[in-house]
Amino acid sequence: MLLITGFASLYFGKTFIANQQAVIEKAAMLQKKNTLSNIDHFGKDIGLLFYHNKFSLANAPNAWAAFANGQRDINPYLISVTMLGLEGQIYDTDINNPVSLLLGNMDLSFVFIFLFPLVIIAFSYNLLSEQKESGVWSLLRAQTNQSFQVIWQKFLVRVAVIFSVALFLLFVTILYLHLPVDFIFFSITALIMFYLTFWFAVSFFIISLAKSSNFNASALVAVWVLICIVIPASLNLFLTRKYPMPEALQHVINQREGYHEKWDMAKEVTMKPFFEHYPQLKQYPFPQEKTFSWFWYYAMQQMGDDQAVASRRAIENKLAARQRFTNTFAFFFPTIQTQLGINNMAGSDLNAHLDFQQAVRKYHEKIRLHFYPSIFLNKAVDSTDIKDYKLEKYSPQQRPSVWVNLLSISILTVILIGTTAFNFKRQ
């Protein structure tokens, strides 16, 4: 059953990422086509051209994103922006079906984190109690004083089976997704192995309490429900309560006001801070007497962003606080810890998206500073190199690591094993 769901989830995971890649390819083609079409329609007025023309940056999925879709279905992986105010564009969502988002993705990390523990429970819950209930246990104890070893060996067999299935699935993953055997692969494999060991430790612990089969099954399923569903969900509830995000709505308002109010103010109010931000642009003659000029217009757009910097920082701080909260509690709950670790490695978590947004900001500035001179001097569109611009791909700079995740899971496992050994000694 594990293999079936494993293969199914691999298939869905790969399809999901293949879709994203196909979209990125298409977007690259569309950018070229749209740029030419825009030049065709608006080529006479360079300011107007850049009002309409979009530049795209793509967060190409890491090969492992098919394994753990993470937040890639919620956060846009392709951001297309014009040269206008960035903060009003960068938060635009993709086209999603919220019901699909609610029900979640069918990917391999789901199988490993949610389903494997259930199989482990199913295999091991009646290891000892079955012997007891069928009367074999008393026979066994009478025959040998190494009864503990017998149980231990039975246990090891099950461990071996589960681990080989897991490794087999990982092996198939490498082949199916064409993944290189590198640091990321070893990190993820280690995480999964530690996680499965944790669950074996939990099962073994419950068995060592020497209760009936029914009790074991119920207790183990209750533990599963608790740490796979109830506790993460409750923690999330407290998180949203403790750290709501009104900053986001305030940010949109700030950016909008910061830009629009400038229309009714003297041009000085816009140009002074604009030139303070970019002193190198002072060299271009500013048409003060004209009621409207593209120079003034683009400066106003930038003012919208500049005035929203504080609220943007506020959003970032809030998100960082949330992350700290999650990380603290993840230390105690291997389910959350493993999912966070895997998402981190696969580059499909929120932090990866935030880094992507920063990259978009940098790219936006680069484009603006490159094309500002042509716009301010009102040059002809053909004198710029806009036709050479194509879709850019973003690649993350940092190498994530999962040492903390591995550490916390192993500590918990060791504690459990210790208690189990103690329980068995008592018997």
């Binding site: 969502t93 086209i95 429900v225 709501p244 305030q250 308002i253 009621t291 389910t335 959350i336």
Partner: protein, 481 residues
């Protein structure tokens, strides 16, 4: 004869609560439900107050804008916020996964941004503790633990034979056990619903509408039916299973498959069969259709030549500058009409695709009562997909109306003679801004909810009938020993 059923029911009820483990579980569940209700209610207040605060701010800022050209106001646009229904504290539905604010401006349609999910780092995907989640997901687990050995334990300890010899019929036994288990559920469910009603009333500031009351009634009813179905299934499995242990394993396996695995699979299948376009493809399709019609910002655009000629003829002038109204505004109004229509058509098709994607999960409700109840619950608490689409439609209608109002103001009140490059821009008085009403979202009525969820409702009813029939008529196949 009904006496026997109630006796058995009462006895089942008492034994269940006497068992320490199940009592602990029941209390724990009750407590977590209370907690979920309270925190959900608080969350609702915070979130909704936030949105209302910004709604007022946006309105105040709109009215405070000084005299200017109405087209500037059209580009300034409006910010609309998606409000929550009072009942949504009960079932979050897609709330956290759908955006909260949308920027409405002329010429351009934007997305609804800032969903809670966009701020989450993955913990949200484990699930959300809402009252609905506990009732839909965890109470069945409780029922399974309560009832897995209701018949099989009697069989294994030999008391079953004694009962049947004492002229207790199988039907009475099955019904009695089922009702006893439901009794335990109701002992949590009823106080909870009373608490819910209290909190809901306080959220609506004690102004209870008939629509919301009806919604609440249908909600309570649906959940009660669901509990009956689950209890009946438990007792039946216990009756037909070979041993208590196999009954338990079967029930747990069912729980895992139907409630954890199946929803994801059916939705993944739906998405695969009916793929939706990406944003770039969607925008490109719209842009292609629009470019066929021309650019309204440019009054000399050839596509609008026909309109221009007919206007010149009607007013008997030779130049558009001599028309008695603002020609640029007129053309923009035409352009807005055309582009909005194109966009709405594409949006409708997109929503149809999403509905088809969701249909697989909906149809699966016929084999999985959990999915049916989920849909009904979300729909009644206005936290479902249809409500979200409704919000998008209302927002788009408002956007269109705002753009056309500004265009009308331009046509009527702005001079047709454009000012020179260095002259002051034309403007109208700020008193005009108040003529544009605020965006007020209206929730749908219960009748539309029922029509939308007919499939889920009929699935749940089918399950109800099926379980009743099974309880009544399958007794001959149950082993006594």
């Amino acid at each position: 004869m009904p006496n026997r059923i109630s006796t058995i029911a009462k006895q089942t009820f008492k034994t269940a609560l006497n068992n320490r483990a199940t009592l602990a579980l029941t209390l724990l569940l009750g407590l977590s439900l209370g907690l979920a209700t309270y925190v959900g209610w608080q969350n609702f207040k915070t979130q909704n107050n936030q949105r209302l605060h910004y709604k007022e701010l946006v309105r105040a800022q709109w009215l405070a804008k000084p005299d200017k050209h109405p087209h500037r106001m059209a580009h300034y646009g409006y910010l609309a916020f998606r409000e929550k229904h009072e009942l949504s504290f009960f079932d979050f539905g897609i709330e956290s996964f759908a955006g909260v604010s949308i920027f409405l401006e002329a010429h351009k349609q934007n997305t609804v941004n800032f969903s809670e999910a966009g701020f989450s780092n993955g913990m949200l995907r484990f699930g959300e503790i809402s009252v609905a989640m506990v009732l839909q997901l965890l109470v069945p687990l409780l029922i399974f633990f309560l009832g897995y050995n209701s018949i099989s334990a009697e069989r294994e300890s030999g008391t079953l034979k004694i009962l049947l010899c004492q002229n207790v019929s199988w039907k009475q036994l099955l019904w009695g056990k089922t009702l006893g288990i439901i009794g335990v559920c109701l002992s949590i469910f009823i106080p909870l619903m009373l608490l819910t009603i209290l909190l809901w009333a306080s959220l609506s500031h004690w102004q209870i509408s008939a629509d919301a009351s009806l919604r609440l009634m249908v909600l309570v009813f649906s959940y009660a039916i669901y509990f009956f179905i689950v209890s009946a299934v438990t007792v039946l499995v216990s009756a037909f299973a070979r041993s208590s242990k196999s009954a338990l394993t079967t029930l747990l396996a069912c729980w895992i498959f139907f409630m954890v695995i199946m929803p994801r699979i059916t939705q993944a299948i739906g998405v695969k069969i009916y793929p939706s376009p990406s944003k770039v493809a969607f925008a490109d399709a719209i842009a292609t259709d629009i470019h066929k019609q021309g650019d309204s910002h440019n009054p000399d655009d050839p596509h609008y030549a026909a309109i221009k000629d007919s206007l010149l003829k009607t007013y008997g002038v030779t130049d558009v500058k001599k028309l008695p109204f603002n020609y640029g505004g007129y053309i923009m109004a035409e352009g807005e009409k055309i582009t909005s229509k194109i966009y709405s058509n594409h949006q409708k098709e997109l929503n149809k695709i999403f509905e088809k994607q969701n249909s697989i999960t909906k149809v699966a409700g016929f084999i999985n009562p959990y999915l049916s109840l989920k849909h009904i619950s979300m729909a009644i608490t206005a936290a479902d997909f249809d409500t979200f689409i409704d919000f998008q439609n209302q927002a788009e209608a408002y956007r269109y109306q705002l753009a056309q109002k500004m265009n009308k103001l331009q046509i009527d009140k702005i001079s047709n003679i454009a000012p020179g490059e260095e002259e002051k821009p034309l403007a109208i008085s700020k008193a005009n801004w108040a003529e544009q009403p605020d965006f007020n979202y209206q929730f749908g009525k219960l009748s539309s909810v029922i029509t939308n969820e007919l499939l889920a409702l009929s699935a749940l009813t089918c399950w109800l009938l099926a379980t009743v029939m099974l309880l009544q008529y399958t007794t001959r196949w149950i082993k006594t020993i």
